[in-house]
């Protein structure tokens, strides 16, 4: 199997076909697949599948690849129902075409929220089954036997009665396509025990390129005559250049042009070193436009916390069940608690960059970028140039990490490359330095949480109230989606009311702040901060009631056998009841978009320095059908490490609206020496597959805080739990 990450021509006609719905009205050159293959002896059986007479099966992969493995797992789902021989599958990166390849959960091509497999699963199975039916029909016609007598093995149609066999490639040589795609009933799909590919690990298609340096990210693109761009951005969101002194910058050898922009000043040079030097040599003063001037994150957090507590503050209802305020009034016991989270940064390893080549007339553009939404990238480029989207020739590149940073509606680093290239009408590689990437980061928002719970006289938990004060995220990240969702900000508030816990009265309320800071979805998304609050609080409630924390949670999910199973499993894995010497365990559970996950952490403490050490992490997750089990383990290892950094040391601070950190010297991320032993079990079930890309991340901070509470009796309420904060809390 090979992977083609290449430019894909797609005709206007095929766009129309897609817009009219899935169709088999395919003629030569009309189909994305056939155009990709661009070889003789190939038949495009659908916009998703092209079969060659040499028996190669080319399958479109619609999601963006940022390390999570969707490039492999999505076409594999289609191949399963097609009964394709995986060794003959060629994975093709789908071109930007929302009509054909949109993520059904978003309505456009956007890879986020760990939902690619979840959202595409049903359609991909149907598409695979449809093509298989076409192959069966053609074989049946050729042999003049009823289709019901035919079966398939990988890439072969078989008529058992007569012992005849036709490979998919042989059928492609004479295949006639129906005008309409065949219907596929749910009952015609394979039952899970018949799966040949799903649930069996295959080599991720692009992995061989990732051990020899040949994997191509946008930063690697080389175009003849290419120049290099760097941009000095305003320190505060919304500020613009006021006075620009570019004399020193222009004097640097190799500098071609200085380009004033609404949000900064760009420099274009013949070499990257000249571009970076020139950027550093710019002297720019900024307008005081923008809301965040004067904002200080350390001073703001107590203000946020006061707002979260203040019941007279304006709120937005996130979710409610029953009547939590009334239940709290009648409760025999009320428990209240507060938690805080600092701003945190994605720190994807590839600093943001893109390459654009605007035509001399400015009427077309070639674009190379790594983005979570190629639909948005094309729109950004077309809009910046005032040209039609079909004038953008888009090249899909691998991403050196995404984590939520690369799917904003403005995809500003793509915009950078396009406007700089347009200024000189030459190809430009626009690169951010690591410092640019930190200073202009878009962060998981600062948040303060106020929680209340009420128990009745019998000790039953009857009310749960969670108020979160933070800047809204979707409003900044994606105003289009924000409007479509009528102002509901799932990126900030999902899971606020812990809807999976069986509590009769629940209320989740947003207390929106408007600081003017840049915000973003970030691995773990709303759960990252909400679950720190909720799972810390659950631990406090259990202790208050004198109930074992794992048992306390188990009782709150008792009608969900999958949840109970996962909690019991992690309890066994961690030997949860056992006391440790010099360390202690903390327990957590979460239902994240249907994925059941529990996690326990073993933590020790250096009381002198306040440093926490996570020795072991045990976690088990049930994401339904496990498409690629080993990759689920890998994603879980990954999300543990990512969550560890946020829990222990990662922290962005803002003063006078500007980011104070600059790079890995003052923004510490986990290294190998920081990581615990990890014990991971994946529980497969026959439920619809749910997300696996970020599940452990939100559980790390509360698991650690809960372990510290067990170890010391002291509750840590602020993430990250830095040594200074731990020492202060211990007193």
């Amino acid at each position: 199997m090979t992977i083609a990450i290449q430019k894909i021509e797609i005709s206007r006609r095929s766009l129309m076909i897609g817009a009219a719905g899935f169709s088999f009205t395919v003629a030569s050159g009309l189909n994305a697949g056939s155009a990709v293959a661009a070889r003789s002896g190939e038949v495009a059986l659908s916009p998703w599948v092209t079969i060659s007479t040499d028996d190669t099966v080319a399958i479109m992969s619609p999601a963006a690849e940022m390390g999570q493995g969707s490039l492999t797992s999505l076409p594999l789902i289609l191949a399963e129902e097609l009964d394709a021989d995986w060794s003959k599958v060629r994975v093709i990166v789908a071109p930007p075409n929302d009509a054909l390849y949109k993520n059904p959960a978003f309505g456009y091509m956007y890879t986020a929220g760990s939902n690619a497999v979840t959202a595409y699963f049903k359609d991909l199975r149907k598409f695979g089954a449809q093509v298989r039916k076409v192959l069966l029909a053609n074989a049946g016609n050729r042999w003049e036997v009823p289709v019901a007598e035919l079966t398939t093995e990988p890439n072969v149609v078989i008529h058992e009665k007569s012992g005849r066999r036709l490979t998919y490639g042989e059928i492609a040589a004479f295949a006639e396509l129906p005008a309409k795609a065949p219907e596929v009933a749910e009952s015609e799909l394979k039952s899970p025990e018949k799966f040949r590919l799903i649930g069996k690990d295959v080599m991720r298609v692009e992995l061989p390129q990732k051990v020899n340096g040949s994997a191509q990210y946008s930063i690697d693109v080389q175009v003849p005559g290419m120049l290099y761009g760097a941009i000095l951005r305003s320190p505060v969101e919304g500020a613009a250049p006021d006075k620009i002194d570019d004399a020193k910058a222009k004097a640097i050898a190799g500098v071609v042009q200085v380009v004033p922009l609404p949000y900064g000043v760009g420099v274009i040079a013949e070499t990257p070193w000249a571009a970076f030097d020139a950027k550093d040599a710019l002297k720019v003063t900024w307008t005081r436009s923008g809301k965040a001037w004067g904002f200080n994150s350390e001073k703001a957090l107590p203000v946020f916390a006061a707002a979260a507590r203040d019941m007279s503050q304006p709120t937005k209802l996130w979710a409610k069940e029953g009547d939590a305020p009334a239940a709290l009034q009648s409760a025999a016991t009320i428990v209240e608690a507060e938690y805080r989270n600092d701003l945190v940064y994605h720190a994807q390893m590839e600093p943001l960059n893109a390459v654009a080549a605007v035509s001399p007339a400015g009427d077309a553009c070639e674009l190379w970028c790594g983005v979570q939404s190629k639909s948005i990238a094309v729109t950004v480029a077309a809009t910046a140039l005032g040209i039609a989207p079909d004038k953008i020739a888009y090249h899909d590149m691998l991403m050196g990490g995404g984590f939520g940073r690369r799917g904003h509606r403005d995809e500003e680093y793509v915009h950078d490359a396009v406007v700089l290239s347009n200024a000189v009408k030459k190809p430009v590689k626009a690169m951010w330095t690591r410092e640019d990437d930190v200073h202009n980061g878009r962060f998981n928002p600062l948040s303060a949480h106020f929680l209340r719970a009420g128990f009745d006289a019998s000790g039953k938990l009857i009310a749960f109230h969670h108020r979160k004060a933070c800047d809204e995220v979707t409003a900044f990240q994606d105003p289009v989606r924000f409007e479509r969702q009528k102002g509901r900000d799932g990126i900030a508030y999902n899971g606020l009311d812990a809807p999976y816990y069986e509590i009769p009265n629940r209320l989740g309320e947003a207390v929106p702040r408007e600081s003017g800071l840049r915000t973003s979805s970030l691995r773990g998304i709303a759960h990252l901060t909400n679950i720190f609050a909720i799972e810390s609080f659950m631990d406090e409630l259990a202790r208050k009631r004198g109930i074992d924390p794992a048992t306390f949670r188990r009782d709150l999910v008792k009608t969900n056998p999958r949840a109970v199973n996962i909690i019991d499993k992690v309890s066994r894995m961690a030997d949860w009841g056992k006391k440790r010497d010099g360390s202690a365990l903390g327990f957590t559970y979460m239902n994240y978009s249907g994925t059941q996950i529990a996690l326990a952490a073993e933590v020790s403490l250096d009381r002198k320095s306040g440093a926490l050490r996570v020795r072991n992490v045990w976690t088990a997750l049930d994401p339904g059908i496990t498409v690629q089990p080993d990759n689920i383990v890998a994603q879980t290892e990954s999300s543990i490490v990512y969550g560890l950094g946020f829990a222990l040391f990662e922290r962005i601070t803002v003063d006078d609206g500007a980011v104070q950190e600059s790079g890995f010297y003052d923004y510490r991320v986990p290294r190998m020496s920081d990581i615990p032993e990890m014990h991971i079990e994946v529980v497969a079930s026959n439920n619809h597959p749910t997300g696996v890309g970020q599940m452990a991340t939100p559980l790390m901070a509360p698991a650690i805080a809960n372990a510290v509470a067990e170890l010391t009796g002291v509750r840590l309420r602020e993430s990250p739990m830095t040594p200074e904060r731990v020492k202060k809390a211990l007193g």
Binding site: L207, Q222, G400, R434, Q635, R671
Partner: protein, 151 residues
């Protein structure tokens, strides 16, 4: 000013000013893009290469310093991904986004070249120069142990 040196066993030449980081010469002048830019401050290891057989941060090495010396990049580690570390990396399915992996592999190859059977603590100490934001660390440990065994 021009610099002559050896790159992956062949004569190489750069016209960049002497203070230019080797990283940018390798990537943008000589077009070997497997070596990555991650931080420019010698703190992440994405730019790791070998100079005269020892690992070095190419972002912290000026082109003027390597006249006459031998530089190996990921592209020169083996012609066909056959270095034991590369083979182990695939066997353990290490990469996720993959961006840091050239640097990780160059660091690991350097470790094994100087210590054929490192213990876990030695692996952790040596490899903590390199950041992997995807957190592939447990698999990196396993891959190095495998490479040490199979080499």
């Amino acid at each position: 000013m021009a610099t002559d040196f050896q790159l992956n066993g062949k004569a190489a030449h750069s016209a960049a000013p002497p203070a230019t980081p080797l990283l940018w010469v390798i990537r943008e002048e000589l077009k070997l893009t497997g070596t990555k830019f991650g931080c420019g401050t010698g703190l992440c290891g994405a730019c790791m290469v070998h100079i005269d057989g020892k690992r070095a941060f190419s972002c912290q090495t000026q082109i003027g310093q390597i006249a006459g010396r031998a530089v190996t990049t990921i592209e020169g580690l083996s012609a066909d991904s056959s270095h034991p570390v590369q083979k182990a990396w695939l066997a353990e399915r290490v990469p996720q986004c993959g961006y840091c992996q050239s640097g990780q592999i160059m660091s690991a190859a350097d470790l094994l070249a100087h210590n054929a059977k490192p213990d876990r603590a030695q692996i952790v100490e040596h490899m903590s120069t390199n950041i992997c934001r995807c957190g592939t660390y447990p698999r990196i440990v396993r891959a190095i142990q495998r490479a040490a065994q199979e080499a």
